[in-house]
């Protein structure tokens, strides 16, 4: 993997990757998130890759294992592009039929389509399904387009271009102002304005500043942290890098629950890849900005999602909250 020394290196890598991806006639995106893995999507993915190779289709068909698509109860599921065809409850036995029927002969397999439990109507494409119809996915919209273990997938769809823009053209003040105008807020219950957090942290006294990505979620049914870290870890890294540049930090941490082993693994792989490309480390993309990230695994203590307890835990101590008369960034 060549180290990227400046923005031009990144752009030429991007166009090279985009060119290579044009050779694929069809993309099969299978969900490899925690939910689908729990319904044995791994065996479907393995069977599919084997069959694609056996039929000699590996040059024209891209089998991508992506992060969570959100419709876990219908797993294992896949989306076939072009066509936006959506298949659910797939078993390894269905694999050869999918290839011979749908891929080679453009025939839709009725039994794998989603059936609405109330109307009994079948949906052929993902966009038609009522569950997805009302959704406007912002942060998770790219989940389907990237393999979380492939930095190349992320770069190919425009990844790390915000970082190059920030490093080349923006001052920390300008970044914070832009964040303020965008109205970006925290994804926890409080919805705290991100720009205020960054501005306070930038203004806070002290030489060493840190960015902490709090992915220690444990609220039932809340997967906003897991879905993004598991499905698109480079997006999180890019965000951390921009935040770090804005507040003047050189070190960051991702504090993630150990109960989400896939999120831990994908974040680890992402950090390794970003270091290899020189997107983390000394003098990122030839700028003066140096930054690195470490992962800390939570130890199964719910309270550690609270910021002061989390920081105690990061220091290797018992994660007990302390009164917040002095705020985290002051």
């Amino acid at each position: 993997m060549p180290k990227l020394n400046n923005a031009n290196d990144l752009e030429s890598l991007r166009s090279e990757l985009q060119r290579a991806r044009k050779n694929f006639r069809t993309t099969l995106t299978l969900c490899g998130g925690t939910g689908c893995q729990a319904s044995q999507s791994r065996s479907v993915i393995d069977a599919l890759k084997k069959e694609v190779n056996k039929q000699g289709l590996d040059k024209s068909v891209y089998v991508r294992t992506s992060g969570c698509h959100g419709f876990c109860e219908q797993g294992p599921l896949m989306v076939i592009e072009p066509g936006n065809i959506f298949y659910c409850h797939i078993t390894p036995e269905d694999v050869s039929e999918i290839i011979t029927q749908t891929l080679l002969n453009n025939v839709i397999i009725e039994k794998l389509l989603y059936t609405d439990p109330i109307t009994g109507k079948k949906s052929q494409t993902e966009a038609e399904i009522p569950f997805y119809k009302a959704q406007d996915r912002q942060l998770l919209s790219q989940n389907r387009l990237v393999d979380p273990c492939s930095i190349e997938d992320f770069i190919a769809i425009g990844g790390y271009s915000a970082l190059t823009k920030v490093l080349a053209k923006m001052t920390p003040e300008k970044i914070i102002n832009e964040i303020k105008e965008s109205g970006l807020r925290g994804r926890g219950g409080g919805g705290f304005p991100t720009s205020r957090k960054w501005a306070d942290c930038k203004a806070a006294h002290g030489d060493e500043k840190y960015v902490i990505c709090n992915a220690d979620e444990g609220d039932p049914g809340a997967y906003m942290d897991r879905s993004i870290l598991e499905g698109n870890p480079h997006l999180v890294l890019e965000g951390i890098l921009i935040g770090a540049f804005a507040i003047g930090a050189a070190q960051g941490y991702i504090y993630v629950r150990k109960e989400y082993p896939l999120a831990v693994e994908h974040a680890r792989i992402a950090i390794k890849q970003a270091r290899e490309y020189g997107l983390l480390g000394e003098k990122i993309l030839g700028s003066k900005f140096s930054f690195d990230v470490e992962i800390a695994r939570g130890g199964g203590a719910f309270v550690c999602g609270e910021s002061t307890a989390l920081m105690a835990s990061l220091e290797g101590k018992v994660g007990e909250p302390r009164p917040k008369d002095v705020h985290t960034v002051e």
Binding site: G35, P220, G221, K258, R297, G300, A301, E315, G316
Partner: protein, 160 residues
């Protein structure tokens, strides 16, 4: 306990007290629990009092101070699994094996643990056996799962 493994875990982390939890996580992963010897060694190498190491190992749920069984059965007790009857599963497995949560059977075959939410709520109740997820569990399915694990282990013992 192999000292070589512990050495490799400590590599590059000596005299860094903030690495305590990460080191213990790796010890737990490598040995299946946190042995007393390891705690003593970690205490010496990181420069953290032994009492503090013990305190951390006790506070965080992920660490086990006793060896765990060959088969670790984890029952998700998160809210979604709870409302779908996780407590019935827990009763089933504890009754079948004659255990209390966190304990290990005398033959060293089974440990039953509880966890707060594994994040697969749509598929609940979820039971994990040595990292393999089993979804939509019922007490009956769980009983059969445990019986099949037990008979596989028996066969392995017979062939050994």
């Amino acid at each position: 306990m192999s000292t070589a493994t512990l050495e490799s875990i400590l590599e590059g982390r000596r005299s860094q007290p903030q690495q305590l939890i990460e080191v213990l996580q790796d010890v737990q992963e490598s040995y299946g629990y946190v042995p007393e010897d390891a705690m003593r060694s970690v205490s010496k190498n990181l420069g953290v009092p032994l009492m503090e190491v013990y305190r951390i190992a006790n506070f965080y749920k992920t660490f086990s101070l006793k060896p765990r069984g060959k088969n670790v059965i984890t029952i998700c007790m998160g809210t979604a699994c709870h409302v779908r009857g996780a407590h019935l599963l827990l009763d089933q497995v504890l009754g079948q094996l004659g255990l209390v949560p966190g304990a290990t059977t005398e033959d060293g075959q089974f440990t039953v643990e509880r966890v707060n939410c594994l994040g697969a709520c749509a598929l609940g109740p979820v039971v994990v056996h040595n990292g393999d997820y089993h979804h939509h569990m019922t007490p009956n399915k769980l009983r059969k799962l445990i019986a099949s694990i037990r008979s596989t282990s028996m066969e392995e013992i017979a062939h050994a």
